[in-house]
Amino acid sequence: MSLITLQGIGKSFKVAKRSAGFAEAVKALFVREHTIVEALRDISFTVREGEIVGYIGPNGAGKSTTIKIMSGVLVPDAGTCTIMGFTPWKDRVRYVRHIGVVFGQRSQLWWDVPVIDSFELLRDIYAIPPGIYRKNLDMLTEMLSLADIIRTPVRQLSLGQRMRCEIAASLLHDPAILFLDEPTIGLDAESKIAVRNFIRTINRERGVTVILTTHDMHDIEALAGRILMIGKGTLLYDGSLSELRSRYGTQKTITVDYKAGASPIDVPGVQCLSRSSGRAVYTFDSDRIDITELINRLSAGGELADVEIGSPPVDELILRLYKEHRV
């Protein structure tokens, strides 16, 4: 049975508009112009328990709006949404006990006091039994290496430290589902990897279902078995990353280093991207050309020092998907 079911969800916002300039500003005092922006249109999908789903799409596509509807913050205009038997916006108070949410661009920690005070406040808000709180706090402190920063006021933490604390804060009450809205935004490589590892662990060991939005395709590659792609408010793709790869990813690049004295050669059907003495980069379609054979033919030009075969980065795949759907 699916844990999360969305059926025909739609949501539109009224946006005030005015042109620049003083006269326009005065006019807007009396007459406001509004345009209706359809943020979501007929969004339907289901998520099973224990899945990690990456929710992607360009800025303004409706990712955050969907997350906010699923976490009970926004009320949609149309459609139904059932999560663990609850309708988030109707059963909000009872429902939100079972979910953890991190909005990467906001903070749920109290700015002026040490992190641990915020954690204790959350313990009281969720009425977490002392034993469970202790256990979760110890586990999170260890996994996210919080021991050194937990007694520091939030305003003195770096972004990476704060994000680790934010994620810990959203898991203190043992949620079954974790919604992460851009959890790696603005983080350095080390913090990103720490966050990803943690998400994977919490999913594997505690069975927490994770739905995350991100613009960093490395997050998706590292974490998500499944991708939902949204553009201009409609769902465009629902499937695995490897499916996406096999659809678009047959194009490969091969970089060849030759030992001294050899000169790179041309192979029919293979496009040469760059060539210098001792080194050449080619691109080819792996459906049409066999890789072993290609290497054999390339080695005819001289003794090979190194061969590197690469797939196009996921970013490029996504970009092609966006282009195909004109978003």
Partner: protein
């Protein structure tokens, strides 16, 4: 510990973090109290006619105002709540297993209690030992003191219910400036924060009687001095309760409507 108590504790911790602000607050309160009493003392010496309140009653009124300033002053608004609505952090508020009206109400009470408790005692210590005519008089009777405490506390509940309406209005206006200014000017005056209500002209007193504001300041303070008698005070506490129920019901209903159309600002 449950959530409201815990919020209160958090508030105290935050208040203690900024000791200099509390100290400055205490000095401001003493300064304004002294200036006001000076003005009233001059007015009472040079005006022979009998006034509706004695100077002693006015002195008590002024010092109570300064001591419990943070509890009952209407325009002390919590920037954090405005920030939640206009900055979009309301998203996190709605992810918590609580109903928003009661918890915001509790937050307002917590903010007021925390800031009053840091100021009330130091100011009280000073004003009870000042020389006459500046010295703070004792309550009219033990019964008056008890009723004063009750009236002050329900006044606090009432102030919080009134300011909740201002916070809720921000869901529509997206800027606290207008609603705060309107409520601050009107409420402040009709509460008796600027001039005690008995010293107002008759028509103004009638108007003040029709509004909820005077039940937050004027009423409890005059119970302390005995200007309002015991029986009248009991009836007054009843009226405070009726206002409280009406304002809280209105607030809860409006909040429900606001949340249905909530927009999280800033994506």
């Amino acid at each position: 510990m449950n959530a409201p108590l815990s919020l209160l504790k958090m508030r105290f911790l935050m208040g203690l973090q900024y000791r200099a602000a509390a100290a400055a607050g205490i000095l401001t309160q003493l300064f304004f109290g002294l200036i006001l009493i000076m003005v009233y003392a001059a007015f009472y010496t040079h005006n022979g006619e009998a006034q509706p309140m004695t100077l002693k009653e006015v002195v008590a009124y002024v010092w109570l105002q300064q001591m419990f300033f943070a509890l009952i002053v209407l325009w002390q608004f919590d920037g954090e709540l405005f920030e939640l609505i206009t900055g979009g952090n309301i998203a996190y508020e709605l992810c918590r297993p609580w109903r928003l009206y009661p918890i915001w109400y509790a937050k307002l009470l917590a903010a007021r209690l925390a800031s009053a408790s840091l100021r009330c005692l130091p100011v009280a210590l000073v004003v009870f030992i000042l020389p006459e005519p500046y010295r703070m008089p004792l309550p009219a009777s033990p019964a008056a003191l008890l009723l004063f405490i009750l009236a002050l506390l329900s006044g606090l509940l009432l102030v919080a219910a009134i300011s909740m309406l201002v916070y809720i209005s921000v869901f529509w206006t997206m800027s606290p400036v207008g609603s705060v200014l309107m409520i601050a000017v009107a409420g402040e005056f009709f509460a008796g924060m600027i001039v005690p209500v008995p010293l107002m002209p008759d028509w103004m007193q009638t108007l003040a009687g029709l509004l909820p504001f005077r039940w937050t300041v004027d009423f409890p303070f005059r119970v302390y001095t005995g200007h309002i008698g015991v029986r009248e005070a009991l009836a007054g506490i009843g009226i405070q309760m009726i206002w409280l129920a009406a304002l809280a019901a209105a607030g809860e209903w409006l909040m429900g409507r606001a949340l249905k159309r909530v927009v999280v600002q800033g994506g």
